[in-house]
């Protein structure tokens, strides 16, 4: 039984399958979807970017992070600073430095800059936070979320404080959303097959043994932290272009917990899990949103009371996690052979695994 030497050749089907399936969704939405449905689809694609970015860190390192939505905040505000017309900025954001005040960049330039900004920030704070392990690291990331939110809520002359900054050109459409998701998937995939990705997954299973194998845990975690911050920074930038307004409230607890539960429901240790978690949860959210609006039955409109959506999604999440504790994909990856099939597994092992589970 000879093994192919190329890791890429063995695993490339996963990102291809994911991107093609999403492309089909984008095409169907574009062809048949209403305006409102298009917006739902764009939101889903942006959430895919966020959750795939989370996966790059959480999935490979095994550390739960509550702080990644702060990178979305950083990306979105950077895009606001770069993309809002100077006339509007000079009224609402007087505190910006002159060169930034007089700049206006198109989306395809502002977005990568926003991603890099978030990544640089992650590089600085990560040098400290990545020294922690387990629950201490999670709590520190939660602190990061709080600090960033506080700064952006109160630095009035630069961020507009609690209120919204308006005027980002609303240039998003479903194709750009798909492109963003595809870019996120490709980056996360390349990271997970990289040397650093493999080393980090080893630290996830057995940190002590990974050190004994020559792995510098802090360094590998930091690399993943920066890569995931870049992806989520991009997502924040596109989110700014999607809503055309930003305010600090959109990048706080609600978004943090919804994206985390999407990741957990899908299966937090696989890229396919990250993507399918978002798709599944988005479908549920959309379904209950419509039920709340009401369904017409023989002239009578029957609707669920408002708030049922959140409760129902909470309950469904719990049910999924009881019966599929490793998520919908059971932490496996999609590929051509079988559906889904775990990589490099002999049939005898699959039987053995079933016995264990």
């Amino acid at each position: 039984m000879s093994k192919p030497h190329s890791v890429i050749r063995q695993t490339i089907t996963t990102p291809i399958v994911l991107i093609v399936v999403l492309l089909a969704m984008a095409a169907l939405t574009y062809a048949f979807g209403s305006r409102a449905f298009n917006r739902t689809a764009i939101e889903m694609f942006i959430n895919i970017m966020v959750v795939v970015g989370l996966y790059a860190f959480v999935g490979n390192s095994g550390l739960l992070s509550f702080g990644h939505i702060s990178f979305m905040c950083l990306g979105a505000y950077m895009t606001a600073w770069l993309a809002i017309p100077p006339v509007m900025k000079s009224i609402t954001l007087k505190g910006l430095p002159g060169w930034l005040l007089h700049t206006q960049l198109p989306m395809w330039v502002a977005t990568p800059i926003s991603g890099v900004f978030a990544a640089l920030f992650a590089l600085i704070v990560g040098r400290i936070i990545m020294r922690l392990s387990g629950i201490a690291a999670s709590i520190a990331t939660f602190g990061l979320l709080g600090v960033v939110n506080n700064v952006y809520s109160n630095w009035d002359t630069v961020t507009g404080g609690q209120g919204s900054i308006v005027g980002i050109p609303p240039t998003m459409n479903v194709w750009i959303g798909w492109l963003g998701a595809a870019v996120a998937i490709v980056i996360a995939y390349l990271y997970s097959i990289s040397r650093s990705g493999l080393a980090l997954r080893a630290t996830r299973d057995e940190a002590v043994a990974a050190s004994a194998s020559g792995v510098d845990i802090v360094r590998e975690r930091l690399i993943a932290f920066v890569v995931s911050a870049f992806i989520i920074g991009l997502a924040g930038a596109l989110y700014g272009h999607f809503l055309s307004i930003v305010n600090p409230g959109s990048f706080y607890l609600r978004t943090t917990f919804i994206t985390l539960s999407m990741l957990v429901v899908g299966g937090m240790y696989s890229l396919s899990g990250a993507v399918s978690g978002v798709v599944a949860m988005s479908v549920l959210i959309e379904l209950f949103r419509n039920l709340e609006k009401g369904v017409s039955l023989g002239g009578v409109t029957v609707g669920l009371p408002n708030g049922v959506q959140e409760i129902a999604i909470g309950i469904i999440t719990i049910i999924i996690l009881i019966y599929l504790p490793t998520g919908l994909t059971r932490n496996r990856e999609f590929s051509w052979r079988g559906w889904p099939l775990q990589r490099r597994l002999a049939p005898s092992v699959q039987t053995a695994l079933k016995e264990i589970n």
Binding site: S194, S211, V215, L345, V349
Partner: protein, 255 residues
């Protein structure tokens, strides 16, 4: 005991855990290409000593030298890159990863590209005769295979020293015989200095040229297998047995 030769040396190492003396002034040398034994009852400080030698525990006082170079306080992953490898009592495989990836991680940790690390992992698995396990998930392996994979992971890229923490624990006689063959080959064919910690004293007496006996954090005896077998200090202190009783050592040899 010269510190400049091809040896991994602990020199008068003491370690204290909140008042409890885990090691006191322990001096031990592991020469390249030979098998050295370390025995002692539970709680004697054997694992603490391994932790000190591999950078997982800093020595309170005393020094650790790798072929003449002081390596006190150097982080574990850096010591591995300098050629000091170890295994763990509990295996500690990366249980969610396939066996080949378990080995590959070491190659990657030592700076290899994935392609090269995979090639090295395949070479090591062939050398150990575990190539058939390559695709299995490590967490699903039977106990003895787990041990062999752990050794494979440690000897990736041929380290200079290998510290084995109870590799034969829970093995049958037949299995520990196979293990003995592998340990001999590691020292003879690869020129690695092996430190073998074992409760299976028969195995230690069979394999090692020189044996250190540790009790309550102190080295109470050093010598060849014959010397250890006949040592009164070991007889009295090691197992807490009476002089007229048959030592476990002798039982193991007799069987």
């Amino acid at each position: 005991m010269s510190s400049g030769g091809l040896e991994l040396v602990a020199h008068e190492v003491s370690v204290q855990f909140e008042g409890l003396k885990a090691l006191s002034e322990v001096t031990l040398a592991v020469p390249r290409g030979r098998i050295t034994g370390l025995i002692g009852p539970n709680g004697a400080g054997k694992t603490t000593l391994i932790n000190v030698l591999t950078g997982f525990q800093s020595a309170g006082t005393g020094s650790v030298a790798l072929e003449g170079q002081a390596v006190n306080g150097i982080a574990a992953h850096k010591l591995r890159r300098m050629g000091v490898a170890r295994t763990f009592q509990s295996g500690r495989l990366f249980r969610d990863l396939p066996v080949i990836d378990n080995l590959e991680v070491t190659g990657v940790g030592l700076g290899q590209r994935r392609r090269d690390a995979i090639a090295e992992a395949q070479r090591v698995m062939a050398w150990l005769g575990i190539s058939h396990l390559a695709g299995m998930i490590a967490g699903a392996l039977p106990y003895t295979d787990e041990r062999r994979v752990a050794i494979g992971r440690a000897i990736m890229c041929t380290p200079r020293y290998l510290l084995l923490d109870e590799p034969a624990a829970g093995m049958s006689e037949h299995e520990s015989h196979d293990l003995a063959v592998i340990i001999r080959r590691i020292a003879a064919e690869l020129g690695i200095g092996v430190l073998l910690i074992e409760h299976n004293i028969g195995l230690v007496l069979e394999l090692c040229e020189r044996i250190f006996v540790l009790d309550s954090g102190e080295i109470i005896e050093v010598g060849s297998p014959t010397q250890i077998r006949n040592s009164d200090a070991v007889r009295h202190a090691y197992m807490g047995t009476q002089q007229d009783e048959l030592l476990p050592v002798e039982e193991a040899v007799a069987s």
